[in-house]
Symmetry: C2
Subunit: 141 residues, 2 copies
DNA sequence: CCTGGATTTTAGCCTGTGCTAAATTTGTGT
DNA sequence: ACACAAATTTAGCACAGGCTAAAATCCAGG
């Protein structure tokens, strides 16, 4: 039999907790990509205003993102995405867009869908995302 | 014009943060109601095994829930829901059930839908919940 | 070049949510 | 009655992610 399995055996709720741990990373890399796309570079203040948190909070969050290999930055410099960060940003943006379109397709107003999708996106598994995509193709009028 | 509005003006992301703050309360009162329903009373250990966290974590979480008026408990005693707690439990269970059924209705397998709904439920606004309900009635075969 | 405003960093605080180890309490079976 | 097992509580730790105030740095206009 497999060795002792002390490892927390990913039940439902551990999945939720790990989703929460990565969702800030997802939102940040997505936002960083958008800001860079729109204005060339991304500074901490841009993220602070976007997320409505203090610039100090952004600074420390960026530190964690750098530690975990999503972004690179040097003192007083802008934030850039690593290759890994760019990939996550692309994946997150794509999934976010599907969720948003899907909510609107079932009749949720855009203003509400924008808010709800921002939270829902992080908990949508690949299988559920596929179901949403399938729904969108079927109902492409 | 209205005075200065320093008040953080609930953008998209503050909604997400407040959702996260209440989701443990929602999951706990829902679980407490279920355990009481199933076995008469609810003890901390029941919640620890259900959420796969330590009994110490449960103990402190229950303390916060009591502080916020969702549950009542006395030293070494079981956990009971306040009126407010029962109401939240009912609302959360109802919403959770709708989300789960909805995911299955769009073709997500039950095992996956159970996991995803556990995270998604907390970010579904009343309007989106209504859209899901409407979808379920329309597609009631 | 130098200075003032914008920006970032540092210091120091808080709460929530996770843990282990140890102490305490409860309640049950003999 | 009492010991023992189960449950809870306490103590003490860690990290994420919020904040304000103050210091440091950067850069652009004069
Ligand atoms: Mn997103
Ligand atoms: Mn998001
Ligand atoms: Mn639930
Ligand atoms: Mn849940």
């Amino acid at each position: 039999m497999p060795h002792s399995r002390k490892r927390r055996d990913q039940g439902k709720h551990s999945r939720i907790r790990s989703d929460h741990a990565t969702e800030i990373a997802e939102d940040y890399v997505e936002a960083i990509a958008e800001v860079i796309e729109a204005s060339g570079t991304c500074r901490a203040v841009d993220l602070a205003s976007r997320f409505e948190v203090s610039h100090v909070t952004v600074n420390r969050t960026i530190g964690r993102l750098a530690r975990d290999g999503w972004v690179e930055t040097e003192p007083y410099g802008p934030v850039v995405l690593t290759a890994k960060g760019k990939q996550l940003a692309r994946k997150a943006a794509e999934r976010h867009a599907v969720v948003l379109k899907f909510l609107m397709a079932i009749g949720v107003r855009e203003s509400v869908a924008k808010i709800d999708s921002e939270g829902i996106e992080h908990h949508v598994s690949p299988e559920t995302l596929d179901a949403m995509r399938a729904f969108l193709s079927e109902h492409a009028d």
